[in-house]
Symmetry: D2
Subunit: 365 residues, 4 copies
């Protein structure tokens, strides 16, 4: 349930309970935490910024319960709590009998014997990524001081495509810029076209999905290991923990299926004293270990399952087929908001790796 | 490093050490283990069957050290050891200084400070999947007795494509057939065309990759959970532990990025007393929990990095650029052999889920 | 850091931070939680009840953030938070340079490079057992509904001794009575004598320790396993997590060193249809597995290290020897308050065992 | 089931199966392993050395399957296997129906539904400590090169008492001497008297137990943490995993129950530039963290339950009371052989601590 090796992340809460939050164990003591930087990241994930997202207003100011004193980590578990406010639970009353297609309603009913908190999606809500973004924001600051930058962009929305990262030359500057945007794209035109696509879906009572591409620069070579010790095996569970994520690929990813070995292999050369590769189909990982080249990966998010269009479903009480239209406040596309969650998963994972392989330690800032 | 919740899998060994093996903890006591069925699965993964794979002859008969008595599990950890034989280590002498592109040589050198066993790829070798296939074969038998079938096929090889699974109607019969084939495809023509593509790559001293599609039927709804408790978060680390795996997707996967919500959502209906969905873009998982529909996922494997073509690399001792041609015995395509590993990862994962959520227990066979 | 197999317990917080709390993952859904019963247990641990404990007034009403809806568990992680109030942090100002003997001050300084929150003992405070008692109170209710009772008493305080449990005939009735007392003893005279001993220590500016003996009845045989799977290996880390605990023994414990095998072995007999033992030197555990006889164990707590008497210490800033007298509010004896923590550790451990070995499940209340 | 944080120890096997063994994951790469030193430790645990132990002849030469190349660790999991030889399984035929008092027979029957391998005690046999001693011997060598010595002695056997360690002045020299003895005592007279006590028990068809006291010197201060992060919470599960262990105490242990705080507190002073304590009732641990003073702990082992004297038991097939005399080869006292197991648990635990808290790393030998 909890995740991690040196760093352990535990996320608790349900969408319409009292609060949600995270406990992050294993942070080194003495690391400065900048609250403004954290709030900036949480705002990227928060809904209600414009028409592309749900109008629910979240006032997601995390309260630090432990682990930070005088703006520095104490080495004790860091617990942050985010109160649930602006809750309209009456919207969810009928869902216990008529499960929404594409949502966890039906399997969760069986898993929890009907006792799970379904209000607002409960523990399956996209809101559960807020504690992940909080945690990632803390880790990101620690990594940034060691020269590691993490950033992501919306690569596609329903077929509309941004310029992909150049996996060899992607720069800290670009990643730093993207990692402060609410709708991050490499090309400004892509954002405009994607917003139009989302608005079009919204107007037709529908929703769309897309792909997030993430990169990290400044990583030392030598972190990770073979088999389940690999970077991919550490990072993928956190990415799949983000609701609506249906796929994860590293480097050339699924595209590698169409390459020859001679095309896919990244050949080595000396750039001054540094060993680099001329291409980066590996996405910065070979044998589960960082190569020192940029980390590159992509995650796909399915269209928001909550759509106002009428859908077929079943009435579990009456044991018969029925129709359902989902009301309430929903994003026509959660991909832009998922970017901060993806970056955060990467940040938590990379800090865990740096600590586990003794690449961070000793020095304090 | 080790993997699992109720079931724990630990894989040890290096390609050219004395032996490789697995320890599987948490198996229920009293389960019949059929050794012939295990050997059949291990033969699927073994090399040397034809021109599409490396001529290395592995005599992969696992020796059971513990956990089985009179063909039944005792409830103690099951340890199986596979001796390493037919080893030609002289092939690997120069690699410590000149890392092979696409292999773990260079990052592993940094990770292990030069002390790792590089012979035959060491712990990064595809041979390390043999203990996984052994473990999966044991788990598969336990699942099969509860009506759960697991099978996979080669979906693509370098652009040549097999008929994909119908995610709604994929049958136990088909999966059972595929799970005994060495080059499993739904369509016989696809196998012929793929073999030709692989042979063509081999003759041009090159290699090709591809995609494996896996399915499981007979799963009960209600296993898994949200966030890192999800089926995807449990299974993906095991899949990425298979060498050369660069991507994992469930259900519609990356294709979901191009769908509307109204297309992607799988609508419910009653099939007699059973709740089913008309489509299965979810791949049998919603909110990290099994829905009762077939589990469907895909993994991509990059082309074998060992190619006889000359490649650019670096001489780490001389600190200069150099050329490298990889000699030795290598598969021009590892995808057909990876099928058994993929199915095995699924089997281990699904048995862990069944045990964790108390869906298997009590009864003995 | 976190603890458990099926159930995972994570405790966060520091004594004088904003709050302390616990996250308990893996609880079955649909279990009724009675808040009054929880508060009753927390009151037993709380200080300020009489002269035998610190006058600090804790208003330890836990706030449930998640995991409970309509008084029933939802199956999501249960997070409870207890605010830190009545804090007098100025008492602790000089401790960073002059470590208190018997406290964690000095090793914690090295462990956390001076960044740990020392106020009120920080994360080393006995106050950190409040989240454990909360968690134990929840688990105890679930166990109680299955006929499992847990109770403990103060066996000794500085040589004053209560009547020990009869390890064969200890009854649920006795355990239920003890588990609601604030100073639980089998014999009323023992409580009186112990209180006198504690008061005497208090008046001489000193402190005393003692031993807590705990039992559980109603346990089914067959939970646990050999080696680190054993009940002792699961329970002992939780007991040693209670501050000031310096030893744990099961059944005859250290006394077994003076017995012959013929004395120590508990012989079997049929009591009607039930297999029982005539003695219970095993303390209800053989080979790490419950035998069905009462679980019996003892833990020792050292005297409170905070004493008003002047002691030798060092001045780490001046690098010289010095004297120290610890001011502030402290218990002359923490043993009576530790009883609830010991019982709680047992409750959490036993519920984990019942869930792991499928001895609880299915039925709901 | 498996144990550890940075280092993970998995022990597999059953007494009369094909083999037993251990997998130790997380060892740093490049550490020299001296096989003679390992065999020396394993010989200490092996039976058959004299009349005080079972005449079973074990030829316990571990075979290294992985993780070591050219006498140095590779960083891959270290797997060692010890074949089971000299097996007389016919001795154990009747035990399935008539459980031996003091053994795991009865609870294991319930735990494993009758499918566990009971021959030779199966997984509950004292033989299962051989892989622990192997693992400890490897870790001990790594620690020794960093100036950490671990040694233990037989403190008591059935009331006969050796000179206890002086917890302040116990020396590496003494520990190094003890850690090569088969019957280690501080005082030679104690060994003589203890051997006489054991022989006396043997002749009366009985058995005796005792206490092992263990110490480690050269530990840096600052390893460990509060609550379940503590040294005691890490070490105690490994100690309780040793069959027949019924209690564990640190420093003054249960004796602390009779001390005043002013007696128990260890006062600090400067010994040159080093902070030390004048006494060491803490046993080298405060708040779960090493203080830099010697680590001191004690474990008690009950008398061998296998005795030739007739005992009361039950016939589970006939459902009636019966008598039982245990035949076969058994130690009248396992305490001297347990010493190597206790030291080994300490060695594995201390190396895990040193790695987790970054106190070992970087340098190679």
């Amino acid at each position: 349930m909890s995740w991690g090796n040196t760093l352990k992340l535990t996320i608790f809460g349900e969408s319409h309970g009292a609060a949600i939050g995270a406990v992050l164990e294993g942070l080194p003591a003495g690391e400065t935490v900048n609250m403004d930087g954290i709030l900036e990241q949480m705002a990227r994930r928060a809904p209600g910024k414009d028409l592309s997202s749900t109008p629910r207003k979240e006032n997601d100011r995390p309260e630090i319960l432990s682990g930070i004193l005088n703006r520095k980590t104490t080495g004790a578990p860091l617990c942050a709590v985010i109160a649930n406010t602006d809750i309209h639970s009456s919207d969810y009353a009928e869902l216990r009998n008529i499960p929404r297609p594409g949502h966890a309603d039906y399997p969760a009913l069986l898993r929890y014997h009907g006792f799970n908190d379904m209000r607002g999606g409960g523990r399956f809500s996209g809101r559960m990524t807020a504690p992940l973004v909080f945690s990632g924001a803390v880790c990101r600051q620690i990594l940034k001081r060691r020269g590691i930058s993490i950033g992501a962009h919306v690569l596609t929305i329903h077929g509309v495509r941004d310029t992909p990262f150049n996996p060899v030359t992607v720069s800290a500057g670009l990643l730093d810029r993207l990692s402060t945007c609410c709708f991050p794209t490499v090309s400004p035109e892509a954002e405009t076209a994607m917003r139009a696509e989302i608005e079009s879906a919204r107007q037709s009572l529908n929703s769309v999905g897309g792909i997030v591409e993430c990169a990290a620069t400044g990583l030392p070579a030598g972190a990770g290991g073979p088999l389940t010790e690999g970077v991919e095996s550490l990072l993928s569970p956190l990415l799949f923990a983000i609701p609506a994520c249906k796929g994860v690929e590293f480097g050339a990813g699924f595209g590698a299926a169409d390459l020859f070995g001679s095309e896919d292999n990244d050949s080595y050369y000396f750039d001054g004293e540094t060993v680099k590769t001329r291409t980066n189909n590996a996405g910065g990982i070979l044998g589960g270990i960082t190569t020192g080249m940029p980390l590159i990966f992509r995650t796909v998010f399915k269209p928001t399952p909550s759509i106002a269009k009428e859908q077929d479903s079943v009435d579990l009480a009456e044991r018969k087929n029925t129709k359902l239209a989902v009301h309430g406040r929903h994003d026509p596309c959660i991909v832009p908001r998922a970017v901060a969650a993806v970056e955060s998963a990467a940040a938590v994972c990379l800090l865990d790796l740096m600590l586990t392989y003794h690449l961070i330690g000793g020095e304090r800032t």
